[in-house]
């Protein structure tokens, strides 16, 4: 079986097993530009146990979600893979700073920034936790738009246009 047919074979079988009685995997991000207008400020809310699972898989050993330097740097590295901006010409802007995290039972909030060229049209790729749950639904609200203009990201469509350039 060559590589392509293997992928097709897998595709037939793959599906989200889902947490059966609790199909409840969402994240929510608030997005705003900083005062200088050159850095995206992001507050991202995730389910703490899902983030813990993602970090554990990524590292290959148990990670306990707690606010400490080690977990912060792993979280930032994870975000750099799954929450980023693309320009039309293919430039990539990744989270550069994780300012902090607030971890509670009902939610974990992550605060980070992405420096970007706002002269460009930008799209947001938000595949956070889609590696943990196939049914993951990520929502992002750009604060410069009306509430109804919230963006929705799913495994089928993990990238959405975000910024039209200045």
């Amino acid at each position: 079986m060559n590589r392509l047919s293997l992928i097709i074979f897998l595709a037939l079988l793959v599906g989200a097993p889902g947490a059966l009685a609790h199909p409840w995997h969402t994240s929510f991000a608030e997005l705003g530009w900083n005062d200088d207008g050159d850095t995206l400020e992001v507050s991202l809310r995730v389910l703490p146990e899902d983030l813990e699972t993602a970090l554990t898989w990524r590292r290959g050993e148990t990670v306990v979600l707690a606010d400490n330097p080690d977990v912060r740097s792993q979280t930032l590295a994870y975000l750099a893979e799954r929450f980023l901006l693309h320009s039309e010409s293919g430039e990539v802007f990744r989270p550069g700073r994780l300012l902090g995290m607030e971890i509670g039972h009902d939610a974990a909030w992550l605060y980070f920034t992405i420096a970007a060229d706002t002269g460009l049209r930008l799209s947001l790729y938000n595949a956070v936790l889609m590696d943990v749950e196939g049914t993951q639904t990520n929502r992002a609200r750009p604060l410069w738009l009306a509430p109804r203009d919230t963006l929705l990201f799913t495994a089928a469509r993990p990238e959405q246009s975000l910024w039209q350039g200045r």
């Binding site: 009685a21 199909p23 969402t26 306990v64 902090g100 971890i103 605060y111 509430p147 919230t150 929705l152």
Partner: protein
């Protein structure tokens, strides 16, 4: 805001109350939003009444089961034989009977397997790969050995994937029964690798298995007045609905296993040791939690390998399904719990891996759930309620629930009040309590109030999630509930694509938010902000009681809630259950009107104050020092220079006299009233109509709270102006001060506007880190790059 006291005469002012401004929009108008549901609901019949209650010709089917099942602990295989007595209580003749074979979901040719669509491989979940490989190796599906009538004669049948049709030689007439038996076998799946509702978990350290067995026997599908046969294929996600009946089940397992099951154990003398039997009997009169199998005994039992088998017999009445669990690893605790006047035996079964969390919280959570739910619905009608720890994430069956959370390997677990560093999430205390409340709560919806999960997921998940929130909040103050509070639903309400809750579809977008969180939040808002607790609780209890052990549809719920409360809620159902609009109300404009008394002394003085209060312009200020022409040549002054425009003239008096004579005494009294008239304009940006809870702040610092019913939007759903008449000056108006409406944009909720900062800026501005963590955190606290 600028006060106006223009030429508003008395009559003009009295006529002014609400002056809607019409906006052209394609949204529903006020009258449309408040129209009765009528055609959206099924026409009432004598089966389902217009009041929302079951009618005089209401009917439902019944199926009684007699099952013998053996677990082969060496091959992880289940061998079963059942006799089903099917009672046709419908007014229809039936030529065939449909059964569900849920285990066929694991056949390689099942719809579940074939209809999976290809994922984006960059998003490929790791878990999916494990799932995939397990399922590929697994020889799943039901192996049917025999299907016979009561005389042992083979019956004709056809298998269509997860559905089995048994053809009857003669049609089964109304009121008749049909008895038949099915013999089958199937392999049990590894539930740790595949998301399944039942299966086994293997413990490498002690080479033992723990079985949670569900959706395991061929089950008669539901036949209803609203749907006919409910014979949609089982794809793994949609749940199910079944017929109520009596179950007699004999479960044969290795002699050293402990079995937990739906129903009451009939033969403790055969399967329990003398010590266990004594403890079991004692627990049934004890409100204190007791071990029937202690952690030490369970640990010891792990190394046992019985060569003989024992048969546990259970009986359950009036249940729609039967599930069980079996392992030699089980610890077993129990205590009596109260449900109103009834006694219920609350029990938990779990391996040592679940300790110390489980002995502390599982059975108390079961008892607490029964207590709270009983107060909101009806007394728990079953004799036992069980929580089992095993590989299944969270799943409900009558009297028994499977709940997955465990502590970390070192036995510690996460509590928000503890230092976080050495604790972990997935195994947290609140995770466990919440899942037990949710799953035990499902006994009420849909195990007893038997709504159809395949068609209307929200009818059990939404109602159950609502009561789960109430139950969590009654566990402890500020219990960290994940859903229930209105503000938590906002992000979903403003998102797209979205479909109404009442979308009868298996492909609901954003399933969890749609079927669990939105209806749960809607009910919370209905209770706290629209009906009030007294009316809501009575109506909700009435709905539950009416449909206890019966099959309600959405219309039965909507109608019952109105029927029992005398509150017209059609606008609410329409907006929250049939629509996708959201709540966003802006306090847009405030105008102050005061009465023109007509008395020139009062009015001219008022006008003078208004003028004097105006600040001079920059030009006026800068010119103040310079000498003017008039100052240099006083001879230019005349009558008009000297006259004060605000002085009262004889003409003014004459006018006032005339006015006085034209007024009745009552009108004169009104004119002398010294009131402020505030016209406040509210704009409905989100479209979903909502009551207007308001907080008004007065000049003297006093604060008043009031709520305007949602019906204010009935003529114009886009914008309304409300008049407030006060003695005092209003200095502030705030909409929704307690975040009780799920308003999406709080930046426009107050006059004067309150500055809103993003969550990010708030975080940055927070000067102090969390005090719990400050000491150790300050040492390293800095951004990570």
């Amino acid at each position: 805001m600028h006060p106006t006291r223009t030429a508003l005469g008395l009559l003009a002012l009295l006529a002014f109350s609400i002056s809607p401004t019409l906006h052209a929009t394609d949204r529903q108008s006020g009258p449309e939003k408040f129209a009765q549901l009528d055609y959206l609901l099924d026409t009432p019949t004598e089966t389902r009444l217009a009041s929302g209650a079951p009618g005089p010709v209401y009917w439902q089917q019944r199926a009684d089961y007699d099952i013998e099942v053996t677990i082969d602990d060496r091959a992880q295989r289940l061998i079963g034989r059942e006799t089903i007595t099917y009672h046709n209580q419908s007014p229809h003749s039936l030529r065939y009977i449909w059964l569900q074979l849920d285990q066929n979901r694991f056949r390689p040719d099942s719809d579940d397997m074939l209809t999976k669509t290809a994922p984006d491989f960059e998003q490929f979940p790791y878990k999916t790969l494990a799932n995939l490989l397990t399922r590929q190796d697994f020889e799943g599906g039901v192996d049917l050995k025999a299907i016979e009538d009561a005389n042992g004669k083979a019956l004709n049948y056809t298998v269509n994937k997860t559905m089995l049709r048994i053809d009857l030689a003669e049609a089964l007439a109304p009121g008749e029964q049909f008895r038949f038996s099915v013999a089958w076998e199937h392999n049990i799946i590894d539930a740790t690798a595949v998301g399944a509702r039942g299966g086994y978990e293997y413990f490498e350290a002690d080479e033992n298995y723990l079985y949670e067995i569900a959706q395991w026997y061929p089950r008669v599908a539901a036949y209803t007045d609203y749907q006919g046969w409910q014979n949609k294929q089982f794809l793994g996600n949609g749940e199910f609905t079944l017929e109520l009946g009596t179950f007699e089940v004999a479960i044969t397992v290795p002699a050293d296993h402990i079995v937990a099951a739906t129903g009451v154990l009939q033969n403790p003398g055969d399967v329990l040791s003398r010590k266990q039997r004594q403890r079991y009997e004692k627990a049934q009169t004890s409100t204190e939690q007791r071990f029937i199998v202690t952690p030490e005994e369970a640990k010891q039992n792990e190394s046992s390998r019985a060569s003989v088998k024992k048969t546990w017999r259970f009986r359950a009445e009036n249940v729609r399904d039967f599930a069980f669990a079996s392992s030699r690893k089980f610890i077993w605790d129990a205590r009596m719990a109260k449900s109103g006047s009834r006694d219920v035996l609350a029990m938990s079964f779990y391996p040592n891996e679940a300790e110390p969390l489980w002995s502390q919280y599982s059975t108390p959570a079961v008892a607490h759930t029964i207590d709270v739910y009983s107060r909101f619905t009806f007394e728990y009608p079953y004799p036992v309620s069980i929580s089992v720890n095993g590989p299944v994430g969270g799943m409900e069956y009558p009297m028994i629930t499977f709940n997955k959370p465990r502590p970390y390997k070192d036995g510690t677990y996460w509590d928000v009040r503890q230092k976080p560093d050495d604790k972990t999430w997935e195994r947290s205390k609140y995770g466990l309590i919440s899942v037990i409340i949710h799953e035990v709560g499902h006994n009420y919806f849909p195990m007893i109030v038997n709504s159809d999960e395949r068609q209307w997921t929200w009818m059990d998940e939404g109602l159950n999630t609502f009561l789960q929130f109430v139950t969590e909040q009654a566990w402890e103050e500020e219990y960290p509930s994940r859903r229930g509070e209105p503000e938590k639903i906002v992000e979903y309400m403003i998102s797209a694509p979205q479909v109404p809750i009442m979308t009868n579809s298996e492909s609901i977008y954003q399933f969890g938010s749609n079927a669990y969180a939105k209806p749960a939040t809607a009910l919370n808002i209905l209770r706290e902000s629209i009906m009030g607790r007294e009316l809501f609780d009575h109506a909700f209890r009435e709905y539950a009681t009416r449909w206890k052990f019966k099959r309600p549809t959405p219309a039965d719920f909507f109608r019952s809630m109105e029927d029992a409360s005398a509150v017209d809620l059609d606008w609410f159902w329409r907006g929250w259950f049939y629509g996708t609009e959201y709540v966003d109300v802006a306090v847009d404009n405030i105008a102050l009107y005061q009465l023109d008394t007509g008395n020139p002394e009062v009015e001219k003085a008022w006008q003078k104050t208004q003028k004097d209060e105006r600040e001079p312009t920059l030009g006026q200020q800068r010119n103040a020092e310079a000498e003017t022409l008039l100052q240099r040549y006083p001879q230019l002054r005349d009558f008009y220079t000297e006259s004060d425009e605000f002085s009262v003239t004889p003409w003014d008096y004459a006018q006032y006299e005339q006015l006085q004579q034209s007024l009745t005494d009552r009108e004169k009294a009104l004119l002398s009233v010294d009131k402020n008239f505030y016209a406040v304009t509210f704009r409905n940006i989100g479209g979903l109509v909502t009551p207007l809870p308001l907080r008004i702040t007065y000049g003297d610092g006093e604060v008043e709270e009031l709520q305007i019913p949602a019906e204010i939007w009935r003529r114009n759903a886009n914008e309304v102006t409300k008049l407030f008449i006060t003695d005092r000056e209003i200095t502030g108006i705030e909409f929704d001060p307690y975040r009780s409406t799920a308003d999406a944009d709080t930046a426009n909720n107050a006059w004067p506007r309150k500055p809103e900062t993003s969550r990010f800026k708030l975080f940055k501005e927070k000067e102090e880190p969390n005090p719990m963590r400050r000491d150790e955190q300050e040492k390293w606290e800095q951004p990570i790059y």
